[in-house]
């Protein structure tokens, strides 16, 4: 288990224990956190699990694949700390991760 704090666009915080090995997207969806649609269920096909990774954690979440980079390039309100949550797998090193959710996934 590793802790993730999801902060909705309206400021509502969800602090959850997520099984390591699951993605940051799965942690949100399985716990019914609003604001992550994840239409494709983690196939990196839809860019509807866009999150902003807290700067302190950015380096630890690793590099984006070319596919993720390319999908994010066309998402809305993209920032340097934007990631697709389905592409970040939870590990012990990410215990305490903080991500913020955009206003909309579409």
């Amino acid at each position: 288990m590793a802790k993730i704090t999801y902060i909705e666009h309206n400021g509502a915080e969800h602090v959850l224990d997520v099984k390591t090995g699951l993605s940051v997207m799965e942690g949100a969806v399985k716990n019914n956190v609003p604001g992550i649609d994840a239409d494709c269920g983690g196939a990196c096909a839809c860019a509807t699990c866009h999150v902003y990774v807290d700067d302190a954690w950015l380096a630890k979440t690793g590099d984006k694949s070319a596919m993720e980079e390319s999908m994010l390039d066309f998402a809305e309100n993209v920032e340097p700390n934007s990631r697709l949550a389905c592409q970040i797998k939870m590990t012990d090193a990410l215990d305490g991760l903080v991500v913020r959710l955009p206003e909309s996934q579409h």
Binding site: L22, E26, V29, K30, N31, N32, P34, D37, D39, C40, G41, A43, C44, A45, C46, A47, M67, S70, M71, D73, F74, A75, H106
Partner: protein, 410 residues
């Protein structure tokens, strides 16, 4: 609605039904929710069944939309292994296959679709499989393996995805397609040719224009497929993937308007204001295509309609008209499709299909109706936006790969 309804019954616990239950709670619906499913397990994702799950790269937990505890924690009465057999709209009552009954204030039909079965001799032999449920996938996975030969009847997306997974498990694959090309109902010729060529390079064999007239068997187990021309193709198992039919019988018997699916409006409401229909079973208007009626078989559609119904029930504003989309993964190919090529009068290809990275655009005049993108996220993402915002598109610029998609759309 001024008064909140006291009891919502969701009939069908697939992707649409499960999502509707979860969204109603996200939207603060406080009343009781009953979720009725005929399968033994809570709602799960079907797309991986033909892909990651078949290849052993996903487990039951990762397929589940929500963990089982979610339903009790959120006061959703999830009832597996049972079907609704009748709706009494006058009394607002449901009869269940276990003999019990239930009353509802609002019902959501999410009964999905079922694979069409071939009514040919031998169709009931062991080893003649279909792929819709986790149990189907389990049976298929157990029968596949190195050296096994699977005959896939139907060259649609399910068949092609299963073929790719079967090849990666070392099985021999032969695809039989009744039409002159695969994907005949759902894709243009360029895409059909591309996929056939790619699968052939991976060792898949094709029989086009081939009708299965029967299945040969030995001691109750399938051993081959008989073709209209008399040939028998030997195989160890058969996967039939010739399309699905909406499970609309319940709605029809209750007198709801049906037309190849349960007819709904933009709120996913049926001809009875207390009953909604969502997902594969619904025949619904599509806002970006002048509200043309269509029935879609995709996860994004199931999610969108679950959202429409949950918003209508809880008094939220309706979601903006979406651009429908879907995807397919085969080998290292990612196909992403946005829109539908309704009334398209021009097809153009951007990029070179032999590079395994290209996109096919379908235009109606200067409007983009749909895009099919292979390993081309920019074309898909930008195409999807152009389909949604109905901006006029310059076809020659769209076909020119030296102009970026952002510039094309600017």
């Amino acid at each position: 609605m001024s008064e909140k309804p006291s009891h919502i019954v969701i009939i069908g616990a697939g992707h649409a039904g499960g999502t509707a239950a979860a969204l109603l709670r996200q939207y603060d619906f406080q009343g009781p929710i009953t979720l009725i499913g005929e399968e033994p397990i809570p709602p799960y994702q079907r797309p991986p069944l033909s892909k990651a799950w078949l290849k052993g790269e996903a487990d039951a937990d990762s397929l589940a939309l929500k963990p089982l505890e979610f339903y009790a924690q959120n006061k959703i009465d999830f009832r597996p292994n049972v079907r609704v057999t009748a709706i009494d709209r006058q009394a607002k009552g449901l009869t269940l296959s276990d003999g019990t009954s239930l009353s509802y204030d609002i019902a959501i039909l999410a009964t999905g679709a079922r694979p069409i079965r071939l009514s040919i001799p031998g169709a009931d032999l062991d080893g003649v499989l279909e792929l819709r449920t986790a149990a189907d996938a389990e049976a298929l996975k157990a029968s596949l393996g190195p050296g096994k030969t699977v005959a896939i009847v139907g060259g649609g997306y399910i068949g092609l995805e299963a073929a790719a997974s079967a090849r990666s498990l070392g099985a021999n694959v032969i695809i039989l397609e009744r039409e002159a090309r695969i994907l005949a109902r759902v894709a243009c010729e360029t895409l059909s040719t591309f996929f056939q060529t790619y699968h052939e390079a991976k060792g898949v064999k094709f029989e086009l224009g081939a009708s299965a007239t029967g299945f040969a068997g030995n001691e109750g187990k399938v051993t081959g497929v008989t073709l209209a021309d008399g040939r028998i193709l030997a195989c160890d198992l058969v996967l039939v993937g010739v399309g699905v039919a909406p499970n609309e019988e319940l709605a029809k018997a209750a007198g709801l308007d049906c037309a190849r699916g349960v007819v709904v409006n933009l709120e996913a409401r049926t001809s009875d204001t207390s009953i909604f229909a969502i997902g594969d079973v619904a025949q619904r208007p599509m806002p970006i295509y002048e509200n043309r009626m269509f029935r879609m078989e995709s996860v994004p559609n199931a999610l969108e309609q679950a959202k429409q119904a949950a918003c209508a029930i809880t008094g939220r504003p309706a979601p903006a008209g979406e651009t429908p989309w879907q995807w397919s993964d085969q080998y290292d190919l990612k196909l992403q499709i946005a829109g539908y090529p309704f009334d398209a009068d021009q097809i153009l290809v951007r990029g070179d299909p032999t590079s395994n990275k290209f996109a096919i655009f379908h235009l109606k005049g200067d409007q983009l109706q749909s895009v099919e993108a292979i390993n081309s996220p920019p074309e898909f993402m930008m195409g999807r936006q152009l389909i949604g915002n109905r901006k006029p598109v310059n076809a020659s610029r769209l076909a020119d790969t030296s102009i970026s998609m952002k510039e094309v759309a600017a």
